[in-house]
Symmetry: none
Subunit: 256 residues, 2 copies
Amino acid sequence: MALDDIRVVMVQTTHPGNIGAAARAMKTMGLRRLVLVAPLHFPHAEATAMASGAADILAQAQCVDTLAEAIADVGLAVATSGRARHLPWPHVDAREGGRQLLLESDRHPVALVFGREDRGLTNEELQSCHLHVGIPSDPTYGVLNVAAAIQVLAYELRMAWLEQTAAPAPATPRMPLLNVPWDEELASVGEMEQFFRQFEQVLAEVGFLSVQNPRPMLLRLRRMFLRIRPDRLEHNLLRGLLKDVAKAVRFAKEQD
Amino acid sequence: MALDDIRVVMVQTTHPGNIGAAARAMKTMGLRRLVLVAPLHFPHAEATAMASGAADILAQAQCVDTLAEAIADVGLAVATSGRARHLPWPHVDAREGGRQLLLESDRHPVALVFGREDRGLTNEELQSCHLHVGIPSDPTYGVLNVAAAIQVLAYELRMAWLEQTAAPAPATPRMPLLNVPWDEELASVGEMEQFFRQFEQVLAEVGFLSVQNPRPMLLRLRRMFLRIRPDRLEHNLLRGLLKDVAKAVRFAKEQD
Protein backbone atom coordinates (compact mmCIF):
# COMPACT_ATOMS: atom_id res chain seq x y z
CA MET A 1 0.00 0.00 0.00
CA ALA A 2 1.58 3.23 -1.12
CA LEU A 3 0.19 6.67 -0.58
CA ASP A 4 2.07 8.08 -3.53
CA ASP A 5 0.10 5.91 -5.97
CA ILE A 6 -3.25 7.34 -4.94
CA ARG A 7 -4.54 9.78 -7.53
CA VAL A 8 -6.17 13.07 -6.60
CA VAL A 9 -8.47 14.41 -9.36
CA MET A 10 -9.66 18.04 -9.36
CA VAL A 11 -12.49 18.80 -11.77
CA GLN A 12 -12.67 22.23 -13.49
CA THR A 13 -10.99 24.20 -10.76
CA THR A 14 -11.61 27.94 -11.18
CA HIS A 15 -9.01 29.48 -8.86
CA PRO A 16 -5.42 28.43 -9.59
CA GLY A 17 -4.52 29.23 -5.96
CA ASN A 18 -6.66 26.26 -4.94
CA ILE A 19 -4.64 23.95 -7.19
CA GLY A 20 -1.44 25.12 -5.54
CA ALA A 21 -2.88 24.77 -2.03
CA ALA A 22 -4.11 21.28 -2.96
CA ALA A 23 -0.62 20.27 -4.12
CA ARG A 24 0.83 21.44 -0.84
CA ALA A 25 -1.86 19.63 1.16
CA MET A 26 -1.14 16.42 -0.78
CA LYS A 27 2.61 16.59 -0.36
CA THR A 28 2.43 17.14 3.41
CA MET A 29 0.58 13.83 3.64
CA GLY A 30 2.76 11.89 1.22
CA LEU A 31 0.49 11.99 -1.86
CA ARG A 32 2.06 12.89 -5.21
CA ARG A 33 -0.27 12.19 -8.17
CA LEU A 34 -2.44 15.14 -9.16
CA VAL A 35 -4.74 15.04 -12.21
CA LEU A 36 -6.49 18.23 -13.35
CA VAL A 37 -9.66 17.97 -15.41
CA ALA A 38 -10.00 21.10 -17.61
CA PRO A 39 -8.66 23.65 -15.10
CA LEU A 40 -9.59 27.25 -15.94
CA HIS A 41 -6.01 28.54 -15.48
CA PHE A 42 -3.02 26.22 -15.32
CA PRO A 43 -0.08 26.59 -14.99
CA HIS A 44 -0.42 29.87 -13.13
CA ALA A 45 1.73 32.00 -10.82
CA GLU A 46 -0.87 31.85 -8.07
CA ALA A 47 -0.86 28.06 -8.13
CA THR A 48 2.91 28.05 -7.81
CA ALA A 49 2.83 30.57 -4.96
CA MET A 50 0.27 28.59 -2.96
CA ALA A 51 2.08 25.30 -3.59
CA SER A 52 5.04 26.59 -1.57
CA GLY A 53 7.45 23.62 -1.32
CA ALA A 54 5.20 21.37 -3.45
CA ALA A 55 6.03 22.83 -6.86
CA ASP A 56 7.20 19.35 -7.96
CA ILE A 57 3.65 18.03 -7.61
CA LEU A 58 2.40 20.81 -9.89
CA ALA A 59 5.17 20.17 -12.40
CA GLN A 60 4.19 16.50 -12.62
CA ALA A 61 0.44 17.18 -12.63
CA GLN A 62 -1.42 15.73 -15.57
CA CYS A 63 -4.12 17.71 -17.43
CA VAL A 64 -7.04 15.94 -19.16
CA ASP A 65 -10.32 17.08 -20.68
CA THR A 66 -12.88 14.97 -18.87
CA LEU A 67 -13.34 13.10 -15.61
CA ALA A 68 -13.96 9.94 -17.65
CA GLU A 69 -10.43 10.21 -19.01
CA ALA A 70 -8.94 10.85 -15.57
CA ILE A 71 -10.41 7.70 -14.07
CA ALA A 72 -10.64 5.35 -17.08
CA ASP A 73 -7.98 2.97 -15.77
CA VAL A 74 -8.79 3.05 -12.03
CA GLY A 75 -10.30 0.17 -10.08
CA LEU A 76 -11.89 2.34 -7.40
CA ALA A 77 -13.11 5.89 -7.95
CA VAL A 78 -14.29 7.78 -4.87
CA ALA A 79 -16.13 11.08 -5.33
CA THR A 80 -16.37 13.74 -2.63
CA SER A 81 -19.93 14.81 -2.11
CA GLY A 82 -22.63 15.49 0.39
CA ARG A 83 -25.22 12.76 0.63
CA ALA A 84 -27.06 12.26 -2.67
CA ARG A 85 -30.60 13.62 -2.57
CA HIS A 86 -32.40 11.58 -5.21
CA LEU A 87 -30.80 8.25 -5.76
CA PRO A 88 -28.90 6.98 -2.70
CA TRP A 89 -25.34 5.95 -3.55
CA PRO A 90 -22.85 4.07 -1.39
CA HIS A 91 -21.64 6.79 0.96
CA VAL A 92 -18.99 6.80 3.71
CA ASP A 93 -17.33 9.43 5.85
CA ALA A 94 -13.77 10.66 5.29
CA ARG A 95 -12.23 8.23 7.77
CA GLU A 96 -13.86 5.20 6.24
CA GLY A 97 -13.20 6.50 2.73
CA GLY A 98 -9.50 6.90 3.47
CA ARG A 99 -9.29 3.34 4.76
CA GLN A 100 -11.11 1.94 1.75
CA LEU A 101 -8.95 3.78 -0.78
CA LEU A 102 -5.76 2.71 0.93
CA LEU A 103 -6.91 -0.89 1.23
CA GLU A 104 -7.48 -1.17 -2.51
CA SER A 105 -4.46 0.88 -3.56
CA ASP A 106 -2.22 -2.19 -3.85
CA ARG A 107 -4.71 -4.05 -6.04
CA HIS A 108 -5.38 -1.45 -8.72
CA PRO A 109 -5.12 2.30 -9.34
CA VAL A 110 -7.49 4.27 -7.12
CA ALA A 111 -8.68 7.87 -7.44
CA LEU A 112 -10.21 10.46 -5.15
CA VAL A 113 -12.27 13.04 -7.07
CA PHE A 114 -13.02 16.66 -6.04
CA GLY A 115 -15.54 18.95 -7.75
CA ARG A 116 -15.76 22.61 -8.74
CA GLU A 117 -15.43 25.35 -6.11
CA ASP A 118 -19.00 26.56 -6.59
CA ARG A 119 -21.09 23.52 -7.42
CA GLY A 120 -19.07 20.39 -6.86
CA LEU A 121 -19.56 17.44 -9.21
CA THR A 122 -22.47 16.95 -11.59
CA ASN A 123 -24.82 14.04 -11.05
CA GLU A 124 -23.31 12.31 -14.06
CA GLU A 125 -19.81 12.70 -12.65
CA LEU A 126 -20.93 11.46 -9.23
CA GLN A 127 -22.55 8.46 -10.85
CA SER A 128 -19.35 7.54 -12.66
CA CYS A 129 -17.74 6.81 -9.28
CA HIS A 130 -18.11 3.68 -7.15
CA LEU A 131 -18.36 5.34 -3.81
CA HIS A 132 -19.13 8.78 -2.39
CA VAL A 133 -17.27 10.21 0.55
CA GLY A 134 -18.36 13.12 2.75
CA ILE A 135 -16.54 15.17 5.37
CA PRO A 136 -18.80 15.57 8.41
CA SER A 137 -19.49 19.30 8.75
CA ASP A 138 -21.71 21.80 10.49
CA PRO A 139 -25.25 21.67 9.07
CA THR A 140 -25.49 25.47 9.00
CA TYR A 141 -22.29 25.97 6.95
CA GLY A 142 -20.70 22.89 5.45
CA VAL A 143 -18.93 24.48 2.51
CA LEU A 144 -15.27 23.50 2.80
CA ASN A 145 -12.78 25.12 0.47
CA VAL A 146 -11.66 22.46 -2.04
CA ALA A 147 -8.01 22.55 -0.93
CA ALA A 148 -9.15 22.27 2.69
CA ALA A 149 -11.24 19.22 1.76
CA ILE A 150 -8.21 17.69 0.04
CA GLN A 151 -6.16 18.36 3.17
CA VAL A 152 -8.67 16.52 5.36
CA LEU A 153 -8.95 13.51 3.05
CA ALA A 154 -5.20 13.34 2.45
CA TYR A 155 -4.80 13.43 6.22
CA GLU A 156 -7.24 10.54 6.64
CA LEU A 157 -5.35 8.59 3.97
CA ARG A 158 -2.13 9.11 5.88
CA MET A 159 -3.78 8.13 9.17
CA ALA A 160 -5.10 4.96 7.53
CA TRP A 161 -1.64 4.24 6.16
CA LEU A 162 -0.09 4.77 9.61
CA GLU A 163 -2.69 2.40 11.10
CA GLN A 164 -1.86 -0.22 8.50
CA THR A 165 1.90 0.06 8.72
CA ALA A 166 2.03 0.61 12.50
CA ALA A 167 4.91 -1.18 14.17
CA PRO A 168 3.69 -3.69 16.76
CA ALA A 169 5.50 -2.31 19.81
CA PRO A 170 6.81 1.18 20.46
CA ALA A 171 10.58 0.99 20.74
CA THR A 172 11.00 4.13 22.84
CA PRO A 173 10.23 4.29 26.53
CA ARG A 174 6.96 6.07 27.14
CA MET A 175 5.77 8.52 29.74
CA PRO A 176 3.14 6.52 31.57
CA LEU A 177 -0.37 7.85 32.00
CA LEU A 178 0.22 10.35 29.23
CA ASN A 179 1.61 7.62 27.04
CA VAL A 180 4.06 9.87 25.24
CA PRO A 181 7.63 8.97 24.32
CA TRP A 182 10.06 9.89 27.07
CA ASP A 183 13.83 10.08 27.17
CA GLU A 184 14.54 9.26 30.83
CA GLU A 185 13.71 6.36 33.09
CA LEU A 186 11.07 7.08 35.69
CA ALA A 187 11.88 7.28 39.38
CA SER A 188 10.98 4.10 41.23
CA VAL A 189 8.45 3.86 44.03
CA GLY A 190 11.30 3.52 46.50
CA GLU A 191 12.96 6.65 45.22
CA MET A 192 9.68 8.52 45.45
CA GLU A 193 9.25 7.38 49.06
CA GLN A 194 12.69 8.78 49.89
CA PHE A 195 11.61 12.00 48.27
CA PHE A 196 8.41 12.08 50.31
CA ARG A 197 10.31 11.53 53.57
CA GLN A 198 12.70 14.36 52.77
CA PHE A 199 9.78 16.54 51.64
CA GLU A 200 7.95 15.97 54.93
CA GLN A 201 11.01 16.95 56.96
CA VAL A 202 11.36 20.18 55.04
CA LEU A 203 7.66 20.92 55.42
CA ALA A 204 8.03 20.51 59.18
CA GLU A 205 11.09 22.75 59.25
CA VAL A 206 9.43 25.63 57.41
CA GLY A 207 6.41 25.41 59.69
CA PHE A 208 4.02 24.22 56.99
CA LEU A 209 2.90 21.25 59.12
CA SER A 210 2.11 23.27 62.24
CA VAL A 211 -1.64 23.05 61.62
CA GLN A 212 -3.76 20.86 63.88
CA ASN A 213 -4.04 17.91 61.53
CA PRO A 214 -1.47 17.90 58.71
CA ARG A 215 -2.51 14.47 57.43
CA PRO A 216 -5.01 15.49 54.70
CA MET A 217 -2.60 18.14 53.48
CA LEU A 218 0.26 15.64 53.21
CA LEU A 219 -2.01 13.30 51.36
CA ARG A 220 -2.90 15.95 48.80
CA LEU A 221 0.78 16.75 48.28
CA ARG A 222 1.57 13.08 47.86
CA ARG A 223 -1.18 12.68 45.30
CA MET A 224 0.10 15.69 43.40
CA PHE A 225 3.69 14.54 43.21
CA LEU A 226 2.72 11.03 42.28
CA ARG A 227 0.81 12.54 39.37
CA ILE A 228 4.03 14.05 38.05
CA ARG A 229 5.57 10.60 37.74
CA PRO A 230 9.03 12.17 37.72
CA ASP A 231 11.81 10.66 35.72
CA ARG A 232 15.20 10.09 37.36
CA LEU A 233 16.57 13.46 36.39
CA GLU A 234 13.49 15.27 37.63
CA HIS A 235 13.58 13.27 40.83
CA ASN A 236 17.17 14.37 41.44
CA LEU A 237 16.18 17.94 40.70
CA LEU A 238 13.42 17.81 43.32
CA ARG A 239 15.74 16.22 45.87
CA GLY A 240 18.40 18.88 45.24
CA LEU A 241 15.81 21.59 45.61
CA LEU A 242 14.64 20.22 48.95
CA LYS A 243 18.24 20.04 50.13
CA ASP A 244 18.79 23.70 49.31
CA VAL A 245 15.61 24.70 51.10
CA ALA A 246 16.61 22.70 54.17
CA LYS A 247 20.07 24.27 54.13
CA ALA A 248 18.68 27.77 53.91
CA VAL A 249 16.26 27.15 56.76
CA ARG A 250 18.67 25.28 59.01
CA PHE A 251 21.06 28.13 58.60
CA ALA A 252 18.26 30.33 59.93
CA LYS A 253 17.75 28.06 62.93
CA GLU A 254 21.42 28.14 63.81
CA GLN A 255 21.22 31.90 64.07
CA ASP A 256 18.42 31.71 66.65
CA MET B 1 -19.43 19.58 25.39
CA ALA B 2 -19.78 22.37 22.90
CA LEU B 3 -17.57 22.89 19.89
CA ASP B 4 -18.42 26.56 19.72
CA ASP B 5 -16.76 27.23 23.09
CA ILE B 6 -13.37 25.94 21.99
CA ARG B 7 -10.99 28.81 21.37
CA VAL B 8 -8.68 28.88 18.34
CA VAL B 9 -5.67 31.14 18.90
CA MET B 10 -3.53 32.29 15.96
CA VAL B 11 -0.21 33.88 16.92
CA GLN B 12 1.23 36.71 14.78
CA THR B 13 -0.29 35.65 11.49
CA THR B 14 1.45 37.38 8.57
CA HIS B 15 -0.98 36.77 5.68
CA PRO B 16 -4.54 38.00 6.30
CA GLY B 17 -5.77 35.43 3.75
CA ASN B 18 -4.80 32.72 6.21
CA ILE B 19 -6.94 34.30 8.93
CA GLY B 20 -9.93 34.27 6.57
CA ALA B 21 -9.30 30.67 5.48
CA ALA B 22 -8.97 29.70 9.14
CA ALA B 23 -12.33 31.29 9.97
CA ARG B 24 -13.96 29.34 7.15
CA ALA B 25 -12.29 26.10 8.25
CA MET B 26 -13.54 26.66 11.78
CA LYS B 27 -17.09 27.46 10.79
CA THR B 28 -17.45 24.37 8.58
CA MET B 29 -16.67 22.26 11.65
CA GLY B 30 -18.86 24.22 14.10
CA LEU B 31 -16.14 26.24 15.85
CA ARG B 32 -16.74 29.95 16.41
CA ARG B 33 -14.24 31.56 18.80
CA LEU B 34 -11.16 33.00 17.10
CA VAL B 35 -8.50 34.93 19.04
CA LEU B 36 -5.74 36.72 17.12
CA VAL B 37 -2.46 37.50 18.85
CA ALA B 38 -0.86 40.57 17.26
CA PRO B 39 -1.85 39.83 13.62
CA LEU B 40 0.20 41.79 11.06
CA HIS B 41 -2.89 42.95 9.11
CA PHE B 42 -6.39 42.71 10.50
CA PRO B 43 -9.10 43.41 9.52
CA HIS B 44 -8.17 43.10 5.85
CA ALA B 45 -10.02 42.62 2.56
CA GLU B 46 -8.09 39.40 1.83
CA ALA B 47 -9.17 37.89 5.13
CA THR B 48 -12.79 38.69 4.35
CA ALA B 49 -12.51 37.23 0.83
CA MET B 50 -11.00 33.96 2.05
CA ALA B 51 -13.53 33.67 4.89
CA SER B 52 -16.32 33.32 2.31
CA GLY B 53 -19.46 32.56 4.37
CA ALA B 54 -17.61 32.83 7.68
CA ALA B 55 -17.36 36.62 7.90
CA ASP B 56 -19.24 36.48 11.21
CA ILE B 57 -16.34 34.59 12.80
CA LEU B 58 -13.98 37.36 11.69
CA ALA B 59 -16.33 40.06 12.96
CA GLN B 60 -16.38 38.44 16.40
CA ALA B 61 -12.66 37.64 16.46
CA GLN B 62 -10.80 39.06 19.44
CA CYS B 63 -7.37 40.71 19.11
CA VAL B 64 -4.84 40.64 21.95
CA ASP B 65 -1.16 41.50 22.27
CA THR B 66 0.34 38.30 23.69
CA LEU B 67 -0.33 34.59 23.86
CA ALA B 68 -0.29 34.85 27.66
CA GLU B 69 -3.31 37.17 27.45
CA ALA B 70 -5.11 34.87 25.02
CA ILE B 71 -4.88 31.85 27.32
CA ALA B 72 -4.74 33.39 30.82
CA ASP B 73 -8.17 32.06 31.80
CA VAL B 74 -8.08 28.67 30.07
CA GLY B 75 -7.77 25.37 31.89
CA LEU B 76 -6.18 23.47 29.02
CA ALA B 77 -3.92 25.08 26.43
CA VAL B 78 -2.83 22.86 23.53
CA ALA B 79 -0.09 24.08 21.19
CA THR B 80 0.38 22.77 17.67
CA SER B 81 3.96 21.73 17.11
CA GLY B 82 6.23 19.07 15.77
CA ARG B 83 7.87 16.94 18.38
CA ALA B 84 10.16 18.93 20.70
CA ARG B 85 13.80 18.28 20.01
CA HIS B 86 15.46 19.02 23.31
CA LEU B 87 13.11 18.63 26.20
CA PRO B 88 10.23 16.22 25.50
CA TRP B 89 6.82 17.67 26.35
CA PRO B 90 3.56 15.77 26.56
CA HIS B 91 2.71 15.29 22.89
CA VAL B 92 -0.26 13.68 21.13
CA ASP B 93 -1.47 13.42 17.56
CA ALA B 94 -4.36 15.43 16.15
CA ARG B 95 -6.95 12.72 16.82
CA GLU B 96 -6.02 12.33 20.45
CA GLY B 97 -5.62 16.10 20.85
CA GLY B 98 -9.13 16.69 19.51
CA ARG B 99 -10.58 14.17 21.93
CA GLN B 100 -8.73 15.67 24.89
CA LEU B 101 -9.78 19.25 24.09
CA LEU B 102 -13.38 18.26 23.64
CA LEU B 103 -13.40 16.18 26.81
CA GLU B 104 -12.30 19.15 28.88
CA SER B 105 -14.34 21.79 27.08
CA ASP B 106 -17.30 21.49 29.42
CA ARG B 107 -15.17 21.89 32.55
CA HIS B 108 -13.23 25.06 31.74
CA PRO B 109 -12.23 27.19 28.75
CA VAL B 110 -9.84 25.35 26.43
CA ALA B 111 -7.63 26.75 23.68
CA LEU B 112 -5.87 25.39 20.62
CA VAL B 113 -2.87 27.51 19.65
CA PHE B 114 -1.34 27.90 16.18
CA GLY B 115 1.98 29.60 15.42
CA ARG B 116 3.40 31.90 12.77
CA GLU B 117 3.41 30.84 9.12
CA ASP B 118 7.19 30.72 8.85
CA ARG B 119 8.43 29.62 12.24
CA GLY B 120 5.52 28.42 14.35
CA LEU B 121 5.57 29.07 18.07
CA THR B 122 8.60 30.11 20.12
CA ASN B 123 9.93 27.74 22.75
CA GLU B 124 8.57 30.03 25.43
CA GLU B 125 5.11 29.99 23.85
CA LEU B 126 5.22 26.21 23.53
CA GLN B 127 6.24 25.91 27.14
CA SER B 128 3.28 27.97 28.30
CA CYS B 129 0.95 25.20 27.08
CA HIS B 130 0.10 21.94 28.82
CA LEU B 131 0.14 19.70 25.83
CA HIS B 132 1.53 19.72 22.31
CA VAL B 133 -0.34 18.31 19.35
CA GLY B 134 1.10 17.32 16.00
CA ILE B 135 -0.51 16.41 12.68
CA PRO B 136 1.19 13.29 11.31
CA SER B 137 2.86 14.33 8.07
CA ASP B 138 5.36 13.21 5.48
CA PRO B 139 8.89 13.38 6.86
CA THR B 140 10.22 14.92 3.65
CA TYR B 141 7.72 17.81 3.62
CA GLY B 142 5.60 18.29 6.69
CA VAL B 143 4.90 22.01 6.38
CA LEU B 144 1.12 22.40 6.46
CA ASN B 145 -0.34 25.80 5.73
CA VAL B 146 -1.68 27.20 9.01
CA ALA B 147 -5.30 27.34 7.79
CA ALA B 148 -4.97 23.75 6.52
CA ALA B 149 -3.70 22.70 9.95
CA ILE B 150 -6.66 24.44 11.55
CA GLN B 151 -8.96 22.60 9.14
CA VAL B 152 -7.53 19.22 10.16
CA LEU B 153 -7.71 19.90 13.88
CA ALA B 154 -11.18 21.44 13.66
CA TYR B 155 -12.21 18.32 11.73
CA GLU B 156 -10.81 16.06 14.45
CA LEU B 157 -12.66 18.12 17.07
CA ARG B 158 -15.90 17.60 15.16
CA MET B 159 -15.20 13.87 14.77
CA ALA B 160 -14.54 13.63 18.51
CA TRP B 161 -17.77 15.51 19.17
CA LEU B 162 -19.70 13.16 16.91
CA GLU B 163 -18.15 10.19 18.73
CA GLN B 164 -19.06 11.67 22.11
CA THR B 165 -22.58 12.70 21.29
CA ALA B 166 -23.28 9.30 19.78
CA ALA B 167 -22.46 7.53 23.03
CA PRO B 168 -24.01 8.21 26.45
CA ALA B 169 -22.02 11.01 28.07
CA PRO B 170 -19.80 10.37 31.12
CA ALA B 171 -21.60 11.77 34.16
CA THR B 172 -18.68 12.94 36.33
CA PRO B 173 -16.05 15.54 35.50
CA ARG B 174 -12.75 13.86 34.81
CA MET B 175 -9.15 14.56 35.65
CA PRO B 176 -7.72 15.58 32.30
CA LEU B 177 -4.86 13.66 30.75
CA LEU B 178 -5.28 11.02 33.39
CA ASN B 179 -8.94 10.79 32.52
CA VAL B 180 -10.17 9.92 35.99
CA PRO B 181 -13.14 11.46 37.80
CA TRP B 182 -12.18 14.65 39.66
CA ASP B 183 -13.90 16.79 42.26
CA GLU B 184 -12.21 20.21 41.97
CA GLU B 185 -11.79 22.77 39.22
CA LEU B 186 -8.32 22.97 37.74
CA ALA B 187 -6.06 26.00 38.14
CA SER B 188 -6.02 28.22 35.04
CA VAL B 189 -2.95 29.05 32.97
CA GLY B 190 -2.85 32.53 34.56
CA GLU B 191 -2.90 31.07 38.07
CA MET B 192 -0.13 28.67 37.20
CA GLU B 193 1.98 31.53 35.84
CA GLN B 194 1.58 33.32 39.17
CA PHE B 195 2.70 30.15 40.88
CA PHE B 196 5.74 29.88 38.60
CA ARG B 197 6.74 33.48 39.33
CA GLN B 198 6.51 32.88 43.07
CA PHE B 199 8.34 29.56 42.73
CA GLU B 200 11.20 31.18 40.86
CA GLN B 201 11.60 33.84 43.54
CA VAL B 202 11.81 31.19 46.23
CA LEU B 203 14.29 29.16 44.20
CA ALA B 204 16.49 32.24 43.94
CA GLU B 205 16.21 32.92 47.66
CA VAL B 206 17.27 29.43 48.71
CA GLY B 207 20.23 29.58 46.34
CA PHE B 208 18.91 26.91 43.98
CA LEU B 209 19.38 29.18 40.98
CA SER B 210 22.98 30.07 41.70
CA VAL B 211 24.30 27.65 39.07
CA GLN B 212 25.79 29.04 35.87
CA ASN B 213 22.72 28.57 33.66
CA PRO B 214 19.51 27.99 35.60
CA ARG B 215 17.33 28.07 32.46
CA PRO B 216 17.22 24.30 31.63
CA MET B 217 16.55 23.55 35.27
CA LEU B 218 13.65 26.01 35.43
CA LEU B 219 12.27 24.53 32.27
CA ARG B 220 12.30 21.03 33.70
CA LEU B 221 10.54 22.25 36.83
CA ARG B 222 7.93 24.04 34.71
CA ARG B 223 7.29 20.92 32.68
CA MET B 224 6.92 18.88 35.87
CA PHE B 225 4.41 21.21 37.48
CA LEU B 226 2.39 21.56 34.29
CA ARG B 227 2.15 17.77 34.30
CA ILE B 228 0.48 17.87 37.70
CA ARG B 229 -2.35 20.01 36.34
CA PRO B 230 -3.20 21.08 39.88
CA ASP B 231 -6.76 21.77 40.83
CA ARG B 232 -7.60 25.01 42.66
CA LEU B 233 -7.15 23.51 46.13
CA GLU B 234 -3.80 22.01 45.22
CA HIS B 235 -2.74 25.26 43.65
CA ASN B 236 -3.50 27.10 46.89
CA LEU B 237 -1.62 24.45 48.82
CA LEU B 238 1.48 24.94 46.66
CA ARG B 239 1.24 28.72 46.95
CA GLY B 240 0.91 28.47 50.75
CA LEU B 241 3.88 26.14 50.91
CA LEU B 242 6.03 28.55 48.89
CA LYS B 243 4.98 31.39 51.19
CA ASP B 244 6.08 29.43 54.26
CA VAL B 245 9.42 28.58 52.68
CA ALA B 246 9.99 32.22 51.74
CA LYS B 247 9.10 33.31 55.26
CA ALA B 248 11.49 30.80 56.84
CA VAL B 249 14.32 31.83 54.56
CA ARG B 250 13.74 35.55 54.88
CA PHE B 251 13.81 35.07 58.59
CA ALA B 252 17.24 33.51 58.10
CA LYS B 253 18.42 36.46 56.07
CA GLU B 254 17.35 38.91 58.77
CA GLN B 255 19.62 37.09 61.24
CA ASP B 256 22.66 37.65 59.03
